[in-house]
Protein backbone atom coordinates (compact mmCIF):
# COMPACT_ATOMS: atom_id res chain seq x y z
CA UNK A 1 0.00 0.00 0.00
CA UNK A 2 1.24 3.51 -0.78
CA UNK A 3 -0.27 5.13 2.27
CA UNK A 4 0.50 4.19 5.83
CA UNK A 5 -1.89 2.27 8.03
CA UNK A 6 -2.50 5.46 9.98
CA UNK A 7 -3.62 7.28 6.90
CA UNK A 8 -5.69 4.27 5.95
CA UNK A 9 -7.35 4.58 9.32
CA UNK A 10 -7.98 8.30 8.88
CA UNK A 11 -9.40 7.68 5.42
CA UNK A 12 -11.69 4.96 6.76
CA UNK A 13 -12.97 7.37 9.41
CA UNK A 14 -13.35 10.10 6.81
CA UNK A 15 -15.42 7.84 4.56
CA UNK A 16 -17.62 6.72 7.44
CA UNK A 17 -18.16 10.33 8.46
CA UNK A 18 -18.85 11.38 4.89
CA UNK A 19 -21.85 9.05 4.83
CA UNK A 20 -22.91 10.36 8.20
CA UNK A 21 -22.46 14.02 7.29
CA UNK A 22 -24.05 13.82 3.87
CA UNK A 23 -27.02 12.00 5.32
CA UNK A 24 -27.41 14.67 7.99
CA UNK A 25 -27.13 17.34 5.33
CA UNK A 26 -29.96 15.65 3.48
CA UNK A 27 -32.26 16.28 6.44
CA UNK A 28 -30.72 19.49 7.76
CA UNK A 29 -29.52 21.32 4.69
CA UNK A 30 -31.79 20.08 1.96
CA UNK A 31 -35.03 19.48 3.79
CA UNK A 32 -34.53 22.14 6.45
CA UNK A 33 -35.19 19.81 9.36
CA UNK A 34 -33.04 21.05 12.22
CA UNK A 35 -32.35 17.53 13.35
CA UNK A 36 -29.97 17.05 16.27
CA UNK A 37 -31.02 13.42 16.66
CA UNK A 38 -28.73 12.15 13.95
CA UNK A 39 -26.18 10.78 16.37
CA UNK A 40 -28.91 8.59 17.85
CA UNK A 41 -29.56 7.00 14.45
CA UNK A 42 -25.84 6.45 14.13
CA UNK A 43 -25.73 4.74 17.51
CA UNK A 44 -28.84 2.67 16.84
CA UNK A 45 -27.30 1.48 13.59
CA UNK A 46 -24.02 0.59 15.28
CA UNK A 47 -25.68 -1.35 18.10
CA UNK A 48 -28.16 -3.14 15.86
CA UNK A 49 -25.51 -4.28 13.45
CA UNK A 50 -23.07 -5.29 16.17
CA UNK A 51 -25.62 -7.29 18.14
CA UNK A 52 -26.98 -9.04 15.05
CA UNK A 53 -23.51 -9.90 13.75
CA UNK A 54 -22.51 -11.31 17.12
CA UNK A 55 -25.64 -13.47 16.96
CA UNK A 56 -24.27 -14.80 13.69
CA UNK A 57 -26.17 -12.88 11.07
CA UNK A 58 -24.30 -12.34 7.77
CA UNK A 59 -22.72 -8.90 7.67
CA UNK A 60 -24.56 -7.37 4.73
CA UNK A 61 -27.92 -8.38 6.17
CA UNK A 62 -26.95 -6.96 9.55
CA UNK A 63 -25.88 -3.70 7.95
CA UNK A 64 -29.06 -3.30 5.94
CA UNK A 65 -31.21 -4.15 8.96
CA UNK A 66 -29.22 -1.63 10.99
CA UNK A 67 -30.06 1.00 8.40
CA UNK A 68 -33.71 0.00 8.32
CA UNK A 69 -33.99 -0.06 12.08
CA UNK A 70 -32.48 3.42 12.31
CA UNK A 71 -34.96 4.41 9.63
CA UNK A 72 -37.84 3.18 11.76
CA UNK A 73 -36.62 5.47 14.52
CA UNK A 74 -36.44 8.27 11.97
CA UNK A 75 -40.09 7.63 11.20
CA UNK A 76 -41.01 7.63 14.87
CA UNK A 77 -39.08 10.82 15.50
CA UNK A 78 -40.90 12.65 12.71
CA UNK A 79 -44.23 11.30 13.91
CA UNK A 80 -43.52 12.63 17.36
CA UNK A 81 -42.12 16.00 16.34
CA UNK A 82 -44.38 16.53 13.36
CA UNK A 83 -45.67 19.91 14.45
CA UNK A 84 -42.41 21.43 15.63
CA UNK A 85 -40.00 23.43 13.57
CA UNK A 86 -36.92 25.57 13.86
CA UNK A 87 -35.28 25.78 17.26
CA UNK A 88 -38.05 23.77 18.87
CA UNK A 89 -37.43 20.88 16.54
CA UNK A 90 -33.71 21.19 17.26
CA UNK A 91 -34.30 21.02 21.01
CA UNK A 92 -36.73 18.12 20.78
CA UNK A 93 -34.39 16.10 18.58
CA UNK A 94 -31.52 16.91 20.93
CA UNK A 95 -33.69 15.49 23.69
CA UNK A 96 -34.22 12.41 21.54
CA UNK A 97 -30.43 11.95 21.24
CA UNK A 98 -30.08 12.14 24.99
CA UNK A 99 -32.93 9.70 25.59
CA UNK A 100 -31.44 7.15 23.19
CA UNK A 101 -28.07 7.54 24.90
CA UNK A 102 -29.67 6.94 28.28
CA UNK A 103 -31.40 3.86 26.95
CA UNK A 104 -28.20 2.44 25.47
CA UNK A 105 -26.64 2.97 28.86
CA UNK A 106 -29.44 1.52 30.95
CA UNK A 107 -30.90 -1.34 28.92
CA UNK A 108 -28.11 -3.53 30.16
CA UNK A 109 -29.72 -6.84 29.20
CA UNK A 110 -29.61 -5.87 25.54
CA UNK A 111 -26.74 -3.44 25.14
CA UNK A 112 -24.52 -4.48 28.06
CA UNK A 113 -24.92 -0.87 29.20
CA UNK A 114 -21.72 0.94 30.01
CA UNK A 115 -19.66 -2.22 29.58
CA UNK A 116 -19.89 -1.77 25.84
CA UNK A 117 -19.71 -4.51 23.22
CA UNK A 118 -16.22 -5.82 22.54
CA UNK A 119 -15.17 -8.26 19.84
CA UNK A 120 -17.55 -7.20 17.10
CA UNK A 121 -16.66 -9.40 14.10
CA UNK A 122 -15.07 -7.85 11.03
CA UNK A 123 -17.42 -7.87 8.04
CA UNK A 124 -17.54 -10.99 5.98
CA UNK A 125 -19.24 -10.83 2.60
CA UNK A 126 -19.97 -13.88 0.52
CA UNK A 127 -17.34 -15.82 2.39
CA UNK A 128 -14.68 -13.11 2.05
CA UNK A 129 -13.69 -11.60 5.33
CA UNK A 130 -12.50 -8.02 5.42
CA UNK A 131 -9.51 -8.44 7.66
CA UNK A 132 -6.89 -5.78 7.13
CA UNK A 133 -7.41 -2.06 7.22
CA UNK A 134 -6.54 -1.79 3.55
CA UNK A 135 -9.35 -4.16 2.70
CA UNK A 136 -11.66 -2.30 5.00
CA UNK A 137 -10.73 0.96 3.32
CA UNK A 138 -11.76 -0.43 -0.05
CA UNK A 139 -14.95 -1.81 1.45
CA UNK A 140 -15.83 1.47 3.16
CA UNK A 141 -14.94 3.44 0.07
CA UNK A 142 -17.32 1.28 -1.92
CA UNK A 143 -20.21 1.66 0.51
CA UNK A 144 -19.48 5.36 0.85
CA UNK A 145 -19.46 5.84 -2.91
CA UNK A 146 -22.73 3.98 -3.33
CA UNK A 147 -24.39 5.84 -0.45
CA UNK A 148 -23.23 9.26 -1.55
CA UNK A 149 -24.16 8.49 -5.13
CA UNK A 150 -27.68 7.53 -4.08
CA UNK A 151 -28.04 10.62 -1.93
CA UNK A 152 -26.59 12.75 -4.71
CA UNK A 153 -29.14 11.38 -7.14
CA UNK A 154 -31.89 12.00 -4.65
CA UNK A 155 -31.05 15.65 -4.09
CA UNK A 156 -30.55 16.33 -7.77
CA UNK A 157 -33.78 14.58 -8.76
CA UNK A 158 -37.15 16.30 -8.91
CA UNK A 159 -37.79 14.72 -5.53
CA UNK A 160 -34.73 16.47 -4.14
CA UNK A 161 -35.97 19.76 -5.51
CA UNK A 162 -39.18 19.19 -3.59
CA UNK A 163 -37.14 18.75 -0.43
CA UNK A 164 -35.43 22.07 -1.05
CA UNK A 165 -38.73 23.70 -1.85
CA UNK A 166 -40.09 22.35 1.41
CA UNK A 167 -37.18 23.93 3.27
CA UNK A 168 -37.69 27.29 1.58
CA UNK A 169 -41.44 27.51 1.84
CA UNK A 170 -43.52 24.58 2.97
CA UNK A 171 -46.86 26.41 2.72
CA UNK A 172 -46.31 27.39 -0.86
CA UNK A 173 -45.34 23.82 -1.67
CA UNK A 174 -48.49 22.38 -0.14
CA UNK A 175 -50.58 24.79 -2.13
CA UNK A 176 -48.93 23.31 -5.19
CA UNK A 177 -50.41 19.99 -4.14
CA UNK A 178 -47.37 18.33 -2.57
CA UNK A 179 -47.62 16.34 0.61
CA UNK A 180 -44.90 18.04 2.64
CA UNK A 181 -45.49 15.78 5.62
CA UNK A 182 -44.77 12.78 3.46
CA UNK A 183 -41.66 14.50 2.22
CA UNK A 184 -40.44 15.05 5.74
CA UNK A 185 -40.93 11.40 6.59
CA UNK A 186 -39.15 10.23 3.51
CA UNK A 187 -36.24 12.63 3.98
CA UNK A 188 -35.76 11.74 7.63
CA UNK A 189 -36.01 8.02 6.95
CA UNK A 190 -33.43 8.15 4.18
CA UNK A 191 -31.20 10.27 6.36
CA UNK A 192 -31.57 7.88 9.30
CA UNK A 193 -31.02 4.88 7.06
CA UNK A 194 -27.61 6.08 5.94
CA UNK A 195 -26.72 7.15 9.46
CA UNK A 196 -27.50 3.57 10.52
CA UNK A 197 -25.29 2.23 7.73
CA UNK A 198 -22.40 4.40 8.82
CA UNK A 199 -22.96 3.32 12.42
CA UNK A 200 -22.67 -0.27 11.29
CA UNK A 201 -19.46 0.48 9.38
CA UNK A 202 -18.03 2.18 12.46
CA UNK A 203 -18.94 -0.62 14.85
CA UNK A 204 -17.41 -3.33 12.70
CA UNK A 205 -14.31 -1.28 12.04
CA UNK A 206 -13.42 -0.33 15.62
CA UNK A 207 -14.89 -3.65 16.84
CA UNK A 208 -15.76 -2.11 20.19
CA UNK A 209 -18.66 0.21 20.92
CA UNK A 210 -20.07 1.70 24.08
CA UNK A 211 -22.73 4.38 24.61
CA UNK A 212 -20.21 7.22 24.97
CA UNK A 213 -19.26 6.75 21.31
CA UNK A 214 -22.71 8.08 20.41
CA UNK A 215 -23.10 11.04 22.66
CA UNK A 216 -22.80 14.76 22.58
CA UNK A 217 -19.20 15.08 21.39
CA UNK A 218 -20.02 12.93 18.39
CA UNK A 219 -23.15 14.95 17.69
CA UNK A 220 -21.16 18.17 17.82
CA UNK A 221 -18.61 16.70 15.44
CA UNK A 222 -21.07 15.76 12.70
CA UNK A 223 -23.08 18.92 13.11
CA UNK A 224 -19.90 20.93 12.81
CA UNK A 225 -18.96 19.09 9.64
CA UNK A 226 -22.28 19.87 8.00
CA UNK A 227 -22.28 23.52 9.06
CA UNK A 228 -18.67 24.13 8.10
CA UNK A 229 -19.17 22.40 4.77
CA UNK A 230 -22.30 24.39 4.08
CA UNK A 231 -25.96 23.53 4.17
CA UNK A 232 -27.38 21.84 1.11
CA UNK A 233 -23.99 21.07 -0.35
CA UNK A 234 -22.85 17.48 -0.64
CA UNK A 235 -19.53 18.69 -1.96
CA UNK A 236 -19.23 20.89 1.13
CA UNK A 237 -19.95 18.04 3.50
CA UNK A 238 -17.34 15.86 1.85
CA UNK A 239 -14.65 18.52 1.92
CA UNK A 240 -15.54 19.53 5.47
CA UNK A 241 -15.39 15.93 6.69
CA UNK A 242 -11.87 15.66 5.36
CA UNK A 243 -10.90 19.01 6.88
CA UNK A 244 -12.53 18.51 10.27
CA UNK A 245 -11.23 14.97 10.73
CA UNK A 246 -7.81 15.88 9.43
CA UNK A 247 -7.13 19.15 11.29
CA UNK A 248 -6.75 17.47 14.71
CA UNK A 249 -4.37 15.00 13.09
CA UNK A 250 -2.22 17.82 11.73
CA UNK A 251 -2.22 19.30 15.20
CA UNK A 252 -0.63 16.06 16.39
CA UNK A 253 2.51 17.00 14.49
CA UNK A 254 2.91 20.14 16.60
CA UNK A 255 5.79 19.71 18.97
CA UNK A 256 4.13 20.53 22.26
CA UNK A 257 5.30 19.83 25.79
CA UNK A 258 3.42 16.75 26.88
CA UNK A 259 1.90 18.50 29.89
CA UNK A 260 -0.38 20.74 27.79
CA UNK A 261 -0.59 18.77 24.59
CA UNK A 262 -4.18 17.60 24.89
CA UNK A 263 -5.86 20.89 25.80
CA UNK A 264 -3.72 23.03 23.48
CA UNK A 265 -4.68 20.89 20.53
CA UNK A 266 -8.34 21.08 21.37
CA UNK A 267 -8.25 24.81 21.99
CA UNK A 268 -6.50 25.34 18.66
CA UNK A 269 -9.06 23.15 16.97
CA UNK A 270 -11.90 25.21 18.45
CA UNK A 271 -10.17 28.41 17.40
CA UNK A 272 -9.76 27.16 13.84
CA UNK A 273 -13.42 26.23 13.80
CA UNK A 274 -14.50 29.69 14.91
CA UNK A 275 -12.13 31.27 12.40
CA UNK A 276 -13.64 29.25 9.54
CA UNK A 277 -17.12 30.32 10.61
CA UNK A 278 -16.08 33.97 10.84
CA UNK A 279 -14.58 33.85 7.37
CA UNK A 280 -17.37 31.91 5.75
CA UNK A 281 -20.48 32.17 7.91
CA UNK A 282 -22.41 29.97 5.52
CA UNK A 283 -19.81 27.28 5.48
CA UNK A 284 -17.28 26.52 2.80
CA UNK A 285 -19.77 25.80 0.04
CA UNK A 286 -23.03 26.87 1.64
CA UNK A 287 -25.52 28.97 -0.23
CA UNK A 288 -28.64 28.60 1.80
CA UNK A 289 -29.67 29.72 5.25
CA UNK A 290 -32.13 28.26 7.63
CA UNK A 291 -34.35 30.72 9.38
Amino acid sequence: MIISAYQTHIFILIFIYIILAVSLNLALGYTGLLNLGHVAFYGIGAYTSALLAIEGMPYLAAMIIAGLFASVFGYLLVTATDRLKGDYLAMATLGFSFVVYSLLLNLREITRGAMGIPGIPKPSILGLTVRTNDQYLIFVLLICAISVFIMYRIVKSPFGKLLEANRDNAVCLRVLGKNTFGLKYKAMMISAFFAGISGSLYAHYITFIDPTSFYISELILILTIVIVGGLASIKGSIVATAVIIYVPEILRTLDLPSSVLGPVRQALYAAILIAILMLRPRGIFGKVDLE
Partner: protein, 294 residues
Protein backbone atom coordinates in the same frame (compact mmCIF):
# COMPACT_ATOMS: atom_id res chain seq x y z
CA UNK B 1 -41.80 9.89 54.90
CA UNK B 2 -38.53 11.58 55.60
CA UNK B 3 -37.21 9.90 52.47
CA UNK B 4 -39.82 11.66 50.40
CA UNK B 5 -39.41 14.97 52.18
CA UNK B 6 -35.64 14.82 51.89
CA UNK B 7 -35.91 13.96 48.19
CA UNK B 8 -38.12 16.97 47.64
CA UNK B 9 -35.53 19.15 49.34
CA UNK B 10 -32.79 17.50 47.26
CA UNK B 11 -34.84 18.29 44.20
CA UNK B 12 -35.13 21.91 45.21
CA UNK B 13 -31.40 22.20 45.87
CA UNK B 14 -30.58 20.71 42.49
CA UNK B 15 -33.29 22.76 40.87
CA UNK B 16 -31.93 25.97 42.32
CA UNK B 17 -28.55 25.32 40.72
CA UNK B 18 -30.18 24.55 37.38
CA UNK B 19 -32.29 27.68 37.80
CA UNK B 20 -29.25 29.87 38.31
CA UNK B 21 -27.84 28.67 35.01
CA UNK B 22 -31.16 28.64 33.20
CA UNK B 23 -32.14 32.20 34.19
CA UNK B 24 -29.23 33.85 32.41
CA UNK B 25 -29.43 31.46 29.52
CA UNK B 26 -33.07 32.07 28.91
CA UNK B 27 -32.67 35.84 29.22
CA UNK B 28 -30.12 35.68 26.42
CA UNK B 29 -32.17 33.24 24.38
CA UNK B 30 -35.34 35.26 24.60
CA UNK B 31 -33.86 38.35 23.02
CA UNK B 32 -31.44 36.69 20.62
CA UNK B 33 -33.22 33.48 19.68
CA UNK B 34 -30.16 31.34 19.23
CA UNK B 35 -28.74 28.70 21.52
CA UNK B 36 -25.86 30.27 23.39
CA UNK B 37 -24.30 27.08 24.74
CA UNK B 38 -21.18 28.96 25.71
CA UNK B 39 -23.24 30.28 28.60
CA UNK B 40 -21.99 27.21 30.46
CA UNK B 41 -18.44 28.44 30.17
CA UNK B 42 -19.41 31.82 31.64
CA UNK B 43 -20.49 29.97 34.76
CA UNK B 44 -17.31 27.91 34.90
CA UNK B 45 -15.10 30.92 34.21
CA UNK B 46 -16.79 32.76 37.07
CA UNK B 47 -16.14 29.80 39.36
CA UNK B 48 -12.47 29.74 38.46
CA UNK B 49 -12.32 33.51 38.89
CA UNK B 50 -13.47 33.02 42.46
CA UNK B 51 -10.91 30.29 42.94
CA UNK B 52 -8.15 32.47 41.55
CA UNK B 53 -9.02 35.69 43.36
CA UNK B 54 -10.18 34.24 46.65
CA UNK B 55 -8.44 30.93 47.19
CA UNK B 56 -5.15 31.66 45.46
CA UNK B 57 -4.75 35.44 45.74
CA UNK B 58 -6.55 35.87 49.02
CA UNK B 59 -8.83 38.72 47.99
CA UNK B 60 -11.66 39.32 50.49
CA UNK B 61 -14.66 37.24 49.58
CA UNK B 62 -17.20 39.97 48.89
CA UNK B 63 -14.68 41.89 46.72
CA UNK B 64 -14.10 38.68 44.80
CA UNK B 65 -17.82 38.31 44.24
CA UNK B 66 -18.25 41.83 42.91
CA UNK B 67 -15.27 41.57 40.57
CA UNK B 68 -16.43 38.17 39.36
CA UNK B 69 -19.93 39.30 38.50
CA UNK B 70 -18.65 42.37 36.66
CA UNK B 71 -16.03 40.45 34.70
CA UNK B 72 -18.52 37.75 33.92
CA UNK B 73 -20.96 40.29 32.49
CA UNK B 74 -18.20 41.81 30.38
CA UNK B 75 -17.13 38.37 29.23
CA UNK B 76 -20.65 37.75 27.94
CA UNK B 77 -20.74 41.11 26.20
CA UNK B 78 -17.38 40.39 24.59
CA UNK B 79 -18.65 37.08 23.24
CA UNK B 80 -21.62 38.86 21.71
CA UNK B 81 -19.69 41.77 20.27
CA UNK B 82 -16.65 39.86 19.06
CA UNK B 83 -18.15 36.63 17.81
CA UNK B 84 -21.91 36.54 17.52
CA UNK B 85 -22.64 40.03 16.24
CA UNK B 86 -20.01 39.92 13.47
CA UNK B 87 -21.39 36.54 12.46
CA UNK B 88 -24.96 37.87 12.45
CA UNK B 89 -23.88 40.84 10.38
CA UNK B 90 -22.46 38.47 7.81
CA UNK B 91 -25.84 36.78 7.61
CA UNK B 92 -25.04 33.68 9.61
CA UNK B 93 -28.09 31.67 10.62
CA UNK B 94 -28.85 30.42 14.10
CA UNK B 95 -27.40 26.96 13.51
CA UNK B 96 -24.06 28.56 12.74
CA UNK B 97 -24.23 30.64 15.89
CA UNK B 98 -24.92 27.42 17.77
CA UNK B 99 -21.80 25.81 16.36
CA UNK B 100 -19.79 28.95 17.07
CA UNK B 101 -21.00 28.90 20.67
CA UNK B 102 -19.92 25.27 21.02
CA UNK B 103 -16.55 26.33 19.61
CA UNK B 104 -16.28 29.04 22.25
CA UNK B 105 -17.23 26.56 24.96
CA UNK B 106 -14.57 24.07 23.84
CA UNK B 107 -11.95 26.78 23.49
CA UNK B 108 -12.35 28.18 26.98
CA UNK B 109 -12.73 24.76 28.58
CA UNK B 110 -9.28 23.95 27.33
CA UNK B 111 -7.84 27.35 28.16
CA UNK B 112 -9.03 26.84 31.72
CA UNK B 113 -7.48 23.40 31.76
CA UNK B 114 -4.17 24.81 30.55
CA UNK B 115 -4.27 27.57 33.15
CA UNK B 116 -5.53 25.65 36.16
CA UNK B 117 -4.93 22.01 35.32
CA UNK B 118 -7.47 19.25 34.91
CA UNK B 119 -7.81 18.52 38.60
CA UNK B 120 -10.74 19.37 40.81
CA UNK B 121 -10.51 22.68 42.65
CA UNK B 122 -12.23 23.54 45.88
CA UNK B 123 -12.90 27.07 47.02
CA UNK B 124 -12.69 26.19 50.69
CA UNK B 125 -14.70 29.20 51.90
CA UNK B 126 -17.18 27.09 53.78
CA UNK B 127 -16.18 24.09 55.83
CA UNK B 128 -17.87 20.88 54.73
CA UNK B 129 -20.07 19.70 57.54
CA UNK B 130 -23.28 17.91 58.18
CA UNK B 131 -26.29 20.00 57.26
CA UNK B 132 -28.89 21.36 59.61
CA UNK B 133 -31.51 18.77 60.37
CA UNK B 134 -35.06 19.89 60.89
CA UNK B 135 -38.04 17.55 60.97
CA UNK B 136 -36.05 14.79 59.33
CA UNK B 137 -34.83 17.03 56.53
CA UNK B 138 -31.17 17.87 56.18
CA UNK B 139 -29.76 20.80 54.29
CA UNK B 140 -26.82 23.13 54.67
CA UNK B 141 -26.91 26.84 55.28
CA UNK B 142 -25.36 27.47 51.88
CA UNK B 143 -28.10 25.48 50.22
CA UNK B 144 -30.69 27.59 51.97
CA UNK B 145 -28.84 30.70 50.79
CA UNK B 146 -28.80 29.40 47.22
CA UNK B 147 -32.51 28.64 47.35
CA UNK B 148 -33.24 32.11 48.66
CA UNK B 149 -31.03 33.76 46.06
CA UNK B 150 -32.72 31.86 43.23
CA UNK B 151 -36.02 33.00 44.61
CA UNK B 152 -34.85 36.61 44.80
CA UNK B 153 -33.51 36.42 41.25
CA UNK B 154 -36.84 35.03 40.16
CA UNK B 155 -38.72 37.97 41.70
CA UNK B 156 -36.23 40.55 40.48
CA UNK B 157 -36.19 39.26 36.94
CA UNK B 158 -39.95 39.14 36.89
CA UNK B 159 -40.17 42.72 38.10
CA UNK B 160 -37.42 43.75 35.72
CA UNK B 161 -39.12 42.24 32.70
CA UNK B 162 -42.53 43.66 33.60
CA UNK B 163 -41.74 47.05 35.08
CA UNK B 164 -38.63 48.51 33.53
CA UNK B 165 -38.36 50.02 30.09
CA UNK B 166 -35.39 47.81 29.24
CA UNK B 167 -37.33 44.76 30.33
CA UNK B 168 -40.26 45.76 28.16
CA UNK B 169 -37.94 46.33 25.24
CA UNK B 170 -36.46 42.90 25.77
CA UNK B 171 -39.87 41.34 25.74
CA UNK B 172 -40.73 43.29 22.62
CA UNK B 173 -37.60 42.13 20.82
CA UNK B 174 -38.25 38.61 22.00
CA UNK B 175 -41.75 38.66 20.59
CA UNK B 176 -41.04 40.26 17.27
CA UNK B 177 -37.69 41.62 16.27
CA UNK B 178 -38.88 43.41 13.14
CA UNK B 179 -41.80 45.05 14.85
CA UNK B 180 -39.58 46.12 17.72
CA UNK B 181 -37.15 47.80 15.39
CA UNK B 182 -40.02 49.53 13.63
CA UNK B 183 -41.12 51.12 16.89
CA UNK B 184 -37.58 52.31 17.39
CA UNK B 185 -36.06 49.72 19.71
CA UNK B 186 -32.44 49.15 18.88
CA UNK B 187 -32.24 45.40 19.14
CA UNK B 188 -28.45 45.35 19.20
CA UNK B 189 -28.52 47.51 22.30
CA UNK B 190 -31.11 45.23 23.83
CA UNK B 191 -28.93 42.24 22.97
CA UNK B 192 -25.96 43.98 24.57
CA UNK B 193 -27.91 44.30 27.77
CA UNK B 194 -29.25 40.78 27.62
CA UNK B 195 -25.70 39.44 27.36
CA UNK B 196 -24.52 41.76 30.12
CA UNK B 197 -27.29 40.82 32.52
CA UNK B 198 -27.48 37.17 31.48
CA UNK B 199 -23.75 36.66 31.86
CA UNK B 200 -23.75 38.63 35.09
CA UNK B 201 -26.28 36.09 36.33
CA UNK B 202 -23.93 33.39 35.12
CA UNK B 203 -21.35 35.05 37.36
CA UNK B 204 -23.68 34.76 40.35
CA UNK B 205 -24.36 31.16 39.41
CA UNK B 206 -20.63 30.49 39.07
CA UNK B 207 -19.91 31.81 42.55
CA UNK B 208 -22.64 29.74 44.17
CA UNK B 209 -21.89 26.61 42.17
CA UNK B 210 -18.21 26.96 43.04
CA UNK B 211 -19.12 27.12 46.72
CA UNK B 212 -21.71 24.39 46.63
CA UNK B 213 -19.95 21.92 44.36
CA UNK B 214 -16.38 22.11 43.18
CA UNK B 215 -14.63 23.21 40.05
CA UNK B 216 -13.42 21.24 37.08
CA UNK B 217 -12.90 22.52 33.55
CA UNK B 218 -15.55 20.26 32.07
CA UNK B 219 -18.39 21.04 34.46
CA UNK B 220 -19.84 23.64 32.07
CA UNK B 221 -21.23 21.13 29.61
CA UNK B 222 -23.17 19.25 32.23
CA UNK B 223 -24.52 22.41 33.86
CA UNK B 224 -25.49 23.79 30.49
CA UNK B 225 -27.37 20.70 29.39
CA UNK B 226 -29.40 20.63 32.56
CA UNK B 227 -29.93 24.38 32.72
CA UNK B 228 -31.06 24.32 29.13
CA UNK B 229 -33.43 21.42 29.79
CA UNK B 230 -34.91 23.29 32.73
CA UNK B 231 -35.30 26.41 30.65
CA UNK B 232 -37.14 24.58 27.88
CA UNK B 233 -39.46 22.86 30.33
CA UNK B 234 -40.40 26.15 31.93
CA UNK B 235 -40.57 28.21 28.77
CA UNK B 236 -37.30 29.16 27.21
CA UNK B 237 -38.57 32.52 26.06
CA UNK B 238 -39.72 33.63 29.45
CA UNK B 239 -37.15 34.02 32.20
CA UNK B 240 -39.33 33.41 35.26
CA UNK B 241 -40.72 30.37 33.46
CA UNK B 242 -37.30 28.90 32.98
CA UNK B 243 -36.61 29.24 36.69
CA UNK B 244 -39.80 27.40 37.56
CA UNK B 245 -38.96 24.77 34.94
CA UNK B 246 -35.54 24.22 36.46
CA UNK B 247 -37.04 23.56 39.86
CA UNK B 248 -39.50 21.19 38.31
CA UNK B 249 -36.69 19.37 36.56
CA UNK B 250 -34.74 19.06 39.79
CA UNK B 251 -37.79 17.68 41.54
CA UNK B 252 -38.64 15.27 38.75
CA UNK B 253 -35.12 13.88 38.62
CA UNK B 254 -34.87 13.36 42.33
CA UNK B 255 -38.39 12.05 42.88
CA UNK B 256 -38.17 9.89 39.74
CA UNK B 257 -35.28 7.87 41.04
CA UNK B 258 -37.17 7.06 44.21
CA UNK B 259 -39.20 4.78 41.98
CA UNK B 260 -36.85 3.95 39.11
CA UNK B 261 -33.24 2.76 39.31
CA UNK B 262 -30.97 5.76 39.67
CA UNK B 263 -29.33 5.04 36.32
CA UNK B 264 -32.45 6.55 34.80
CA UNK B 265 -31.89 9.95 36.33
CA UNK B 266 -30.72 11.58 33.13
CA UNK B 267 -33.23 9.60 31.12
CA UNK B 268 -35.99 11.15 33.24
CA UNK B 269 -34.65 14.64 32.58
CA UNK B 270 -34.32 14.14 28.86
CA UNK B 271 -37.63 12.37 28.46
CA UNK B 272 -39.19 15.35 30.18
CA UNK B 273 -37.45 17.68 27.76
CA UNK B 274 -38.69 15.65 24.84
CA UNK B 275 -42.25 15.28 26.09
CA UNK B 276 -42.58 18.95 26.97
CA UNK B 277 -41.44 19.97 23.53
CA UNK B 278 -43.96 17.64 21.96
CA UNK B 279 -46.95 18.61 24.02
CA UNK B 280 -46.16 22.02 25.38
CA UNK B 281 -43.35 23.55 23.35
CA UNK B 282 -43.76 26.91 25.03
CA UNK B 283 -43.10 25.39 28.39
CA UNK B 284 -45.12 25.74 31.53
CA UNK B 285 -45.13 29.52 31.71
CA UNK B 286 -43.94 30.38 28.22
CA UNK B 287 -46.36 32.78 26.63
CA UNK B 288 -45.11 33.18 23.14
CA UNK B 289 -46.79 31.23 20.37
CA UNK B 290 -44.55 28.27 19.63
CA UNK B 291 -43.15 28.17 16.19
CA UNK B 292 -45.36 25.55 14.78
CA UNK B 293 -45.17 24.21 11.33
CA UNK B 294 -48.84 24.47 10.62
Amino acid sequence: MSLLAQSIINGLITGSIYALVAAGYSLIYSTNNFMHFAHGISVVAAGYMVYWLFTLAGTPFYVTCIITVILSALFGLAMYRLIYLPLQRKGASNVILLIASIGILTFFQNVIQIAFGSGVKLIGYIEVAKGITFAGITMTLLQIVILVISFIIFIMLYQFMQRTKLGRNMRAVSNNKELASIVGINHIRVSDFSFLIGSGLAGVAGILVALEQNLSPLMGTNLMIKGFTGAVIGGINYVPGSIVGSFLLGLAENLGILVLPSGYKDAIAFSMLFLFLLFKPNGILGKKEGRFDK
